[in-house]
Symmetry: C3
Subunit: 384 residues, 3 copies
């Protein structure tokens, strides 16, 4: 037997008892009843619109475990990522999460999270795609952080009872966010998931979120904000677009969230304001502009024998830039979505969703571009 | 403990009892007794010929399991893939399979397969590389689908007894294909494995394959066909090559297969005809051309104590294009291979194979290119 | 249940009893007390210096096991690799090791290793990054092989008692190298990890290393050498740099190593000489030049209850080229590092290290480049 590393030591536990492996996968088809093939959304799902066929949106395998009273880890590669934006070869493995939690007390009420993890900004951003009802996150808050994550160090605090409640809200099918603390505070690079830092400054983020019982109902209001300087990279620029000399732009946001968990009727509403880089078609340049937007999601939970049904309606609005897209592309989004998630089994879910959308998305290469239309979207999800 | 996802629930089963992890790896060396370093085969094995050394042909880790009476899944990344065609950095992880099967009856005699999976076209294409005797698949049928797979939805039907037989043919070392149904019917994108769709149409495929006992022997005849429009992508084109305006070409094939399983003498024969894009050196253009070709494999199984020996001979012919290569490269292939697979242990196999080949492969950049020669090829295979 | 592959057979063992999965991850921050942001080291850690922020240096998941008395395997992807040098998208999965060991006797005293594995050249190169004290390997010997590995076949021999000692030196926290034999002999492609061969020749390597007890202390002296021809690839060249017509350069090295394992005081010293391609600023060309360099590491082990502390000091020197970098970049390195590794738990380690460095690194695009400075470096390591 090889021994080129520290032995798994005199513990009585076998390796498979010390951590878990699990995962999920999403297969989509977005072309039914489509009225406008030019209606697309790069951050949402690249297989929207013209020439899109079947696609793998996410294929995740998660290695995680409470290794020690004070040490928890979570490593999650995605196997449906593309090195070149996905126009040619797809489905390479790329990290989403890779972090460890160090408990600063025995119950890990206060803990430090080190590595690449979700930045605590927005409830829907924190909620796993495995649990979210609409197929994609709403533009208003998701435009803050491509793939929701970054590299840094976070401090989370929550009392043990609240930590248990965070767990229960996911476990019981109430579509919770998981435990990102009642209080969260962090520093991170600021260039978003899997992208190296581009300046000598860190972003800072703070969040407060408090789930509480009101009679039989549970609500969770949150406030969160982050601030830093984002560097638009040269790879993002069109030839000829004007920009600040150093390509550095302020990147600041503030958001409020409110959740009423579906027992059986639920509401999820979020709104944010801020400023950041955004392409301006009037001047052909990337400028610091203000942004704002949010959404309301109404949902209802129906349990029939072992089956779960979640009809939902989401209305969203966003006016601002997407800093991680070409020329910090400019957006105005108005969208309504009506859908149903059906879980006949714990291992399989089917989402059907009708989207009615008006999207203006403009960069240096594509100006005067407002697209309206409707489409039916389908997703089969595997949970293992 | 973190709970950012649905709990693994009140099942008594541990995670490692709900699915399996296994894998295999192939290390090759192709340069012994080589007579012509310009004799190469891009789809077969990039380490053939000039400057090729040791190489990893496949490194696979497979996550699969029957999660529920009606839900089966199979996720298989390959860790020997390359984002840029492998000329520089190699051995990245990229998906091969990622699918789930939904049983439409309790015994899953009829099931829907959703995701990226093998397209049921050709016996050798269905057979795992872990089990195949010759090191590479024959050009005639493998040219239909690079890496044998695509994204889509398939319907498979087989009676329970036949499903058990499909399993037994692999388990008993008879080199079966696995269970792709007695009847298979599907729709898929048509651009082959890990490549996004390029048009607004789907390919369709149908297959019938029926294994049956004739005395002590088992045979399996099959018929299969697919049809669609393939789009040659701009990344594939040489500067200056002529082509249809929209780069869309009909892509249609029909194949017959016959298997006599090796007890101890075996035969595997396949032939296909069709049409698709192919570079024409006479006109410097990519044109729709007809194609045809097939192969015969003779093999014999010798069991000595725990060891297995499979001597084999394969003769193949192909005349047609390879739609996924540069300029839909034009081929005429005549090849004879004589080899031996030796399995001293279940975990280790060694294949030695002598190849005598005449290959014409021409694209806009490389015309008048017919290469003949012989070489000895070696492969060590790990099974875990 | 699917059966498209050989069954896991009539063994009584479950899949999770036949092999292990384990891993480790390293998160770094290198910018504290930094005096010169132009002081960088590409091979060491790309997040040194200007614009570097938090980074994932390694995220490893290891699949390994003794499958049979005579068959051992080891497959190790890294999930913090980048296809394009890491300037844009990062954290893709790429192989480090993928090999199998075949025991030629029942105790595997003599074994053949086939696949991609560490080339037995240098003690620090063999030692896992999970166990090494300084954050990066010293330039002098690590410049021999980017990522320490290559594809080929190795023969290792060691008596059973020594194999057990190799294991114990890692298991007991003495920072051993693992078992690369008392004698090692191998052939390999020569272009280093995950890069295809570029010529029709193989490199050869030989090593002898013998750990032995002297009273209560254990020492291990080693000698090792390799020889071959390295091909500088066109992707590495700056426009305008001069070079040999075929880009092939002799690549030869000889090294001596000495270890005194820390009970409690330890010493690790290595030195190597050789020749290889190196950019020459005086002639703007890549030339065959001699190289030499080495290092001394002093360390001390303190055990306090369950905790481990390892203060260390390393002094290193290197004068020569790095064949795998742009234009075979030319280096003169003088560096002192003072650090402390603290293991409060088996699952978590923290390294703090102060580096004082003078580095000349010059290629065609960046000449007259000598950088001096100091910086404090931090690493949190997870072991699972």
């Amino acid at each position: 037997q090889e021994t080129d590393t520290l032995d798994q030591a005199p513990s009585a536990k076998k390796w498979f008892e010390t951590f878990n492996i699990r995962g999920y996968a999403q297969v989509r088809y977005n072309r039914l009843l489509e009225t406008n093939p030019d209606l697309q959304c790069e951050q949402c799902d690249r297989s929207w619109g013209r020439n899109g066929g079947f696609s793998l949106r996410r294929v995740r395998i998660i290695f995680s475990g409470q290794l020690h009273e004070r040490v928890y880890f979570y490593i999650q590669p995605d196997f449906a990522s593309a090195p070149n934006g996905g126009n040619t070869l797809q489905n390479f493995a790329q990290l989403r999460d890779a972090y460890l939690d160090l408990g600063l007390d025995r119950a890990s009420q206060l803990r430090v999270r080190i590595g690449q993890s979700k930045i605590p900004y927005g409830f829907e951003n924190m909620q796993s795609s495995q649990n979210r009802l609409p197929l994609d996150r709403a533009d208003a808050l998701n435009s803050s952080l491509a793939n929701e994550r970054d590299l840094g160090a976070m401090l989370y605090w929550a009392p043990t009872a609240t930590r248990q409640l965070f767990g229960k809200l996911v476990r019981d099918g109430l579509k919770g966010s998981g435990d990102y603390g009642v209080l969260g505070l962090g520093v991170f690079n600021g260039q978003t998931t899997n992208r190296p830092d581009q300046n000598d400054q860190q972003h800072v983020v703070a969040r407060v979120s408090y789930p509480m019982a009101l009679g039989k109902q549970i609500i969770e209001p949150s406030l969160q904000a982050y601030s830093g300087n984002f560097v638009v990279t040269r790879e993002q620029l069109s030839d000829g677009v004007k920009h600040r000399p150093g390509l550095s732009y302020p990147d600041q946001r503030l958001a409020a969230s409110f959740v009423l968990y579906p027992q059986p009727f639920g509401v999820l509403a979020e709104y944010n304001i801020g400023r950041g880089p955004e392409f301006n078609p009037a001047t052909d340049s990337i400028e610091t502009q203000s942004l704002n937007g949010g959404y309301v999601l109404l949902n209802y939970r129906i349990q029939y024998q072992q089956q779960q049904f979640y009809p939902f309606l989401r209305l969203q609005y966003y006016d601002g830039g997407k800093k991680h897209e070409r020329d910090a592309r400019s957006y105005t989004v108005r969208e309504a979505e009506l859908g149903l998630e059906w879980q006949p089994l714990r291992n399989f879910e089917l989402v059907t969703m009708y989207t009615l959308s008006s999207r203006r998305f403009e960069d240096f290469q594509r100006q005067n571009n407002r697209q309206r239309g409707g489409l039916l979207r389908l997703q089969a999800q595997l949970n293992f």
